[in-house]
């Protein structure tokens, strides 16, 4: 993607955005085509890398699958900040089971889709157990998630 400087435009509601700018000047955030898999209002820390990373991956995956996507999330910050009752930021079908089983859960979802002949739907699973943070972890500074399980980097797509 070509570099494009971010230009914000404050609207009446005090929300910052640049959708009112000319098409050519808009940043990716305000792209009309943005899928926004993980919508606003969640409780991640400001500037959370996991939230951004997850959204970029999911947006891209939604794009290539034409919106036919199911997500299997592991326990961790992403699951916690995106779903506390009674809100969900997830704009796609989403399942959270446990800390260490997202890949197996994703395999189960994929198997169910195969059995049902849903070849149009893809599954995206989070590889939590394979992504225990190390000192070289790309987590944001002071990220409490990095101390336990940070998993965005290991997110993989599985074909059904």
């Amino acid at each position: 993607m070509a570099h494009r400087p971010v230009k914000f435009f404050q609207v009446g509601s005090f929300a910052a955005g640049n959708r009112l700018l000319e098409e050519a000047e808009r940043s990716v955030q305000s792209d009309r085509e943005r899928a926004n898999a993980l919508t606003k209002g969640h409780r991640a820390c400001q500037g959370c890398g996991e939230a951004l990373g997850a959204r970029y991956v999911l947006d891209a995956a939604l794009r290539v699958t034409g919106g036919k996507l199911i997500a299997a999330n592991a326990t961790g910050c992403l699951e916690v900040f995106s779903t506390p009752y009674p809100e969900s930021s997830w704009q796609l079908p989403w399942l959270h089971s446990l800390f260490g089983n997202a890949p197996a859960v994703a395999s189960g979802i994929a198997a169910a889709l195969r059995a049902k002949g849903r070849t149009d739907v893809r599954v995206i699973g989070q590889g939590a157990t394979a992504a225990r943070s190390t000192s070289a972890s790309p987590a944001c500074r002071g990220c409490s998630s990095a101390a336990t399980t940070c998993s965005t980097s290991a997110t993989t797509t599985r074909r059904t």
Partner: protein, 419 residues
């Protein structure tokens, strides 16, 4: 259709007739023949459409079943013993999420000491995992309970564990009535999930719930299990209508009419108990037996009613809580609250020790003739000499060595002198 075959293969055929769409399993004795047979049925295309996932562990088996069930597929797995413990975390997750997975548990002891033979330590250790637990008395019951389990699980949106005694049932070859596919199709409707991962109608399954609603969500799981107390007998009578034989239900009474002594047990040991009850009835004793088919939810009222006129209740348990005593006994005592009934707790058949008619006769004679102390934990056929020798060794020296090795030396399984 009547056929002579191994219990495991019969269970596999019954499960296949229920048309599971995803089976994920890891083999472990004595469950292996069940999943082997199912994988064969998938391979040959006899069971289709169905995806068989040979996963890398029991934890993955249950996890894949969770994913499959949430994606709207009828999901099945099977395990035993250590395998059940290995999937423990996922068991609570499956029930908490309300996913109607059906699992066969080929009951086997838990280590240590490692032991592959039959008792109920495995299922009893996870009795409160939120799964419905049904116990099969015979291989015919095992077949029939599986058909009912899928219906029950899906009506309630709760997982069901069908407990089948390892080896005693799973490896016994006998003539069995196998259900015809059309019969099963008539009995078990297509699975209509209450919640499903669907890109056309996205939902969030497994969201975090804080103190503001956690109690309510947990209560709903309890409410569903309480509803099962009505549903289990309803499904059993529907089953009897469709298949022409009684099977399932919460409890099974055996000659309890006018019985002053009732023996309570779960699983295959009930067959041996029934034989001894017959003998003793012939000799004039007023004895009967009560089989608990549905242990979770616990049919408190129904058990109270079934034992109301008994003066003595003898629990024959295939597991026990170390440091406490009988597990079924604790539950049955709740049902007997306020009643003058005398309760005897007897642990029997641990780690595959045979529960024989001769030992049971001796036990019931001791109860009937007042030689057994009530409200104390008893062990059928316990070799107290062996135990005392080891207890003595513990006192004698600090480095007394491993119990299992010492005891095996004493019984002569291992050559050489004990410590």
């Amino acid at each position: 259709m009547r056929d002579q075959l191994e219990g495991s293969r019969a269970i596999a055929r019954a499960v296949a007739a229920c048309r599971p769409e995803v089976i994920s399993a890891y083999p472990i004795s004595p469950q292996t023949h069940i999943v082997e047979a199912l994988s064969d049925l998938v391979r040959t295309g006899e069971l289709a459409p169905c995806e068989y996932l040979p996963v890398e562990s029991e934890f993955a088996a249950m996890s894949a079943a969770i994913g499959a069930s949430a994606a709207g597929a009828r999901a099945y797995t099977a395990t035993a013993s250590q395998g059940l413990l290995y999937m423990a975390e996922a068991l609570f997750n499956a029930s908490g999420l309300g996913l109607p997975i059906v699992m066969t548990l080929a009951n086997r002891a838990l280590g240590a000491p490692i032991n592959i033979w039959n008792d109920h330590s495995d299922s009893m250790s996870l009795r409160d995992s939120g799964w419905i637990q049904l116990y099969a008395e015979s291989n015919q019951a095992a077949i029939d309970l599986h058909l009912q389990a899928f219906k029950l699980a899906e009506e309630l949106s709760l997982p069901v564990m069908v407990c089948v005694d390892g080896y005693v049932l799973t490896h016994a070859v006998e003539p069995l009535e196998l259900p015809a596919q059309e019969q099963v199709d008539g009995f078990l409707p297509r699975y209509e999930p209450r919640q499903v991962l669907d890109p056309d109608a996205p939902v969030t399954i497994g969201a975090m719930v804080g103190p503001e609603a956690f109690t309510e969500v947990r209560y709903l799981a309890h409410a569903k299990q309480m509803h099962a107390l009505d549903l289990v007998p309803e499904i059993a009578s529907e089953f009897a209508g469709a298949f022409g034989r009684p099977s399932g239900g919460l409890l099974r009474r055996y000659r309890t009419a006018e019985a002053d002594t009732i023996v309570v047990a779960l699983g295959s040991v009930l067959g041996t108990i029934a034989d001894v009850v017959d003998e003793l009835r012939d000799e004039g004793a007023r004895i009967g037996a009560l089989g608990i088919t549905c242990f979770r939810p616990f049919p408190l009222e129904e058990i109270r009613e079934a034992l109301r006129h008994a003066e003595r209740v003898v629990l024959v348990e295939r597991a026990f809580a170390v440091g406490m005593g009988g597990i079924v006994g604790q539950n049955v005592r709740l049902a007997l609250q306020g009643q003058p009934t005398v309760v005897y707790d007897v642990v029997a058949g641990l780690g595959g020790r045979a529960v024989t008619t001769r030992s049971l006769r001796r036990l019931f004679a001791d109860v009937l003739e007042g030689r057994l102390e009530p409200n104390r934990l008893h062990f059928l056929d316990m070799d107290w000499k062996l135990v005392e020798r080891e207890l003595h060794r513990l006192q004698e020296r600090r480095r007394s060595g491993p119990h299992a090795e010492n005891i095996l030396r004493d019984v002569g399984v291992i050559a050489g002198r004990s410590h």
